[in-house]
């Protein structure tokens, strides 16, 4: 008996110590949202690989790093070290040998005398960074130098090629300041600047520095107040309308561009759910609207209601990787949300806290080659997340699926379900695979309570096939029913006649 007790004790201790190891693995629990919008536990798609601080890079402590950019062609990693008024340039392996600091720029010869005599200029609170290589292989670096109220564009020799400053055009409101926060550049070298004080969209410059206008404005969140104002505007006089409180859209908070040249904007708002994530075509219209994705909830579904307002996730940064996956960074919860290019939620990772893999004040997210980089402006470091095996399988399945190889995607999707039976995107993937094979009944099973659109498509084909297979039987049944009704009515008529005849 004693032996047994001792055995049980050791087993319990061993079990509990195992459990401790397992739970100490990640400081956050992976979860996902099912079709009903309920959070369900899920396997982690990303785990912490390491964190990198300024000391690791050999450049001293970072101070409020607020933006990052990965130059994939030159294997360079830029960090906007805002409070230190400098840029830190390193590579993707964060090698201290390859790390250097940019804090002083020189004016090129193309600038007028007044500027080229000063020759040197420094950054003041650089909050946004972007780099683009032209066809000749010259890389231009764009920095949103918010303290100096300019976007500065310079080459690898640290010579300024262009300065984008506050437009003097009549279109730009004279009372609005120009304090660039984020910047991105398209393939024609048009510059898109996010300015927090502007609600009409991003400020667009052409390559030569002329102000082109605003690009990609948000819509106004349709609250009850806005609708009421629309009504009063019908009645009020012009003077009264002018005195009304103006309802303006919430300003864009961050911007990114994918490899096809579509621009993504996010809006950081805890109270609004309009236009949180947009994918803009060159005309500035949101192409998610036609697809219905603009109705989706981005970030966490759960809302808190406080003093008449709903508080939700605050998406402060967006990044699109080379596979088209969209990464959203939530300032409110410190989480990263990974979506497919069709806005289907893949993985959620990160969180608030002080452990590795959690954050206190996130500022930027970048993703490249199965790794996700998140900077924290209070911890002053960068956390690198590595895709797990599970995440890799999901990624592989989605890539095959997007290429139209539905049958090839079947095997990885089945593997996903073996590891996590709650992963609902796998059911949709398998449903599509069976639908593509023409096995509509199985496709219906997979789509049931997972995807209404998929179910609709599968059911359409299923119904046609069913009718084709059973048309003869259905026709016979209908004919028998009609015949039966005719006979019944004839019999009734005769009965009635007989009755009347009997009465007479």
């Amino acid at each position: 008996m004693k032996k047994l007790a001792a055995f049980v004790c050791t087993a319990a201790v061993a079990g509990s110590s195992l459990a401790v190891i397992a739970s100490a693995d990640e400081p956050y629990t992976g979860y996902n949202y099912d079709w009903w919008g309920d959070p369900i536990p899920s396997q982690n798609g990303f785990v912490v690989e390491k964190t990198v601080s300024g000391e690791n890079l050999g450049v001293g402590t970072l101070s409020e790093p607020s933006d990052m950019y990965i130059d994939k062609e030159n294997n360079l990693f830029y960090i906007a070290d805002s409070k230190n008024n400098r840029l830190v340039v390193t590579n993707e392996s964060f090698d201290p040998e390859a790390t250097y600091v940019i804090d002083t720029l020189t004016y090129g010869e193309s600038f007028p005398e007044s500027k080229s005599t000063i020759k040197k200029t420094t950054f003041s609170l650089p909050t946004g960074i972007y780099a683009r290589t032209d066809n000749d292989g010259n890389t231009l670096i764009y920095v949103a130098d918010s303290g100096n109220q300019r976007v500065v564009c310079f080459n690898m020799d640290l010579e300024i090629e262009m300065e984008y400053v506050r437009p003097s055009s009549d279109v730009y409101d004279a009372q609005v300041t120009f304090n660039p926060k984020k910047v991105t550049v398209d393939s024609a070298f048009n510059v898109y600047v996010v300015v927090p004080s502007i609600t009409q969209g991003t400020v667009q410059f052409s390559a030569d520095g002329t102000f082109n206008g605003y690009y990609g404005a948000n819509r106004v969140n349709a609250t009850a107040e806005v609708i009421a104002q629309q009504f009063w505007k019908l009645i009020y006089t012009r003077e009264q309308i002018i005195k009304m409180r103006k309802n303006v859209a919430i300003e864009i908070s961050n911007i990114d561009i994918d490899e096809e040249g579509f621009i993504y904007t996010v809006t950081e708002s805890r109270t609004s759910d309009t236009d949180i994530l947009k994918k803009l075509n060159p005309a500035g219209t949101n192409i998610f609207t036609n697809l219905g994705y603009d109705q989706y909830t981005f970030g966490d579904y759960a809302q808190r209601y406080y003093k008449g307002k709903n508080y939700t996730s605050a998406i402060c940064d967006v990044d699109v990787d080379e596979n088209g996956n969209i990464y959203l960074l939530d300032f409110a919860t410190g989480r990263v949300f990974q979506y497919t290019d069709e806005c289907d939620l893949l993985f959620i990772f990160g969180g608030k806290g002080t452990q590795k893999g959690t954050f206190t004040s996130v500022s930027a997210v970048e993703a490249h080659n199965g790794k996700v980089y998140v900077s924290d402006s209070r911890k002053n470091n960068i956390t690198i997340f590595q895709q797990t095996e599970f995440g890799g399988i999901v990624q592989n399945a989605i890539e095959l699926f997007n290429e139209g190889l539905y049958d090839e995607a079947k095997q990885p999707w089945e593997e996903v379900l073996r590891r996590d039976g709650n992963y609902w995107l796998a059911y949709i993937g398998l449903g599509n695979a069976y639908l593509n094979q023409g096995d509509y009944a199985t496709a219906l099973d997979y789509f049931y309570r997972n995807s209404r659109g998929g179910y609709n498509r599968a059911f359409k084909s299923f119904r046609i096939e069913f009718i084709r297979a059973n048309f003869t039987w259905m026709l016979i049944i209908v004919l028998v029913i009609i015949l039966g009704l005719i006979v019944l009515s004839a019999v009734r008529k005769r009965k009635r006649k007989n009755k009347q005849g009997g009465n007479n």
């Binding site: 309920d38 049931y448 609709n456 059911f459």
Partner: protein, 212 residues
């Protein structure tokens, strides 16, 4: 009015549904009220409202299936109906209505028949139709509701021998009366719950005292 009508009790609901304007006059004349039939219709009302949540096809079904609670379906069918009858009776007896509680119960139940039939059609059709064909389902749903509303007005008019404007006013105030009844019921329930909790805590307190 047809005086030669001689229908079995179960046929009356269908007869009034097919004759929305004179059917209730015939019913009143022939005293076709039957509580058993009425209760069957109310029971079907409950069953069909549950079936609508459970058997509607996936493409048209928005019911949260993870948790199924039958109480809301019961209260939104049977209790609602009984409240309607009680509210209508208590209002209309004060305003020269001729209907007894039994009569009101029967004619109101009979008026539900078109709604129930179209609901069954919708539940069946929702398993065969695509999202793009949802117009058929909505058409039948609205048709059933509109038909039942017309029947209900006709029923109230006949059973109380009111004019049409008076009927409409009576229906409006019946709804107000229903709200008041439900409010009082909820209030009563909460109070009784409080009394029960009070009594129970005294009981536990005493048990603690005497057990030591």
């Amino acid at each position: 009015m047809r005086f030669d009508l001689d229908l079995p009790a179960w046929k009356w609901p269908f007869y009034v549904a097919r004759h929305p304007f004179e059917g209730y006059d015939d019913l009143r004349w022939k005293k076709g009220y039957n509580m058993k039939v009425a209760w069957v219709i109310v029971a079907l009302f409950f069953i069909i409202s549950v079936a609508q949540a459970q058997l509607t096809g996936f493409l048209f079904n928005n019911t949260y299936v993870k948790v199924f609670n039958i109480i809301p379906y019961f209260s939104s069918s049977v209790i609602l109906f009984v409240t309607w009858v009680v509210g209508n009776w208590s209002l209309c007896t004060l305003f020269d209505g001729e209907g007894t509680m039994k009569n009101i119960f029967c004619v109101s139940a009979y008026a539900l028949v078109p709604y129930l039939i179209t609901q069954v059609i919708c539940i069946i059709a929702s398993n065969f139709l695509l999202r793009t064909e949802s117009g058929f389902i909505f058409f039948f749903q609205y048709l059933g509701i509109a038909w039942s509303v017309v029947l209900m007005i006709s029923a109230m008019k006949t059973v109380h021998q009111y004019s049409i404007p008076k009927t409409l006013v009576a229906i409006l105030f019946t709804i107000v009366a229903m709200v008041i009844i439900l409010f009082l019921a909820v209030l009563l329930l909460t109070l009784f719950q409080n009394v029960f909790v009070f009594g129970y805590s005294i009981y536990t307190e005493l048990m603690y005292r005497f057990s030591i």
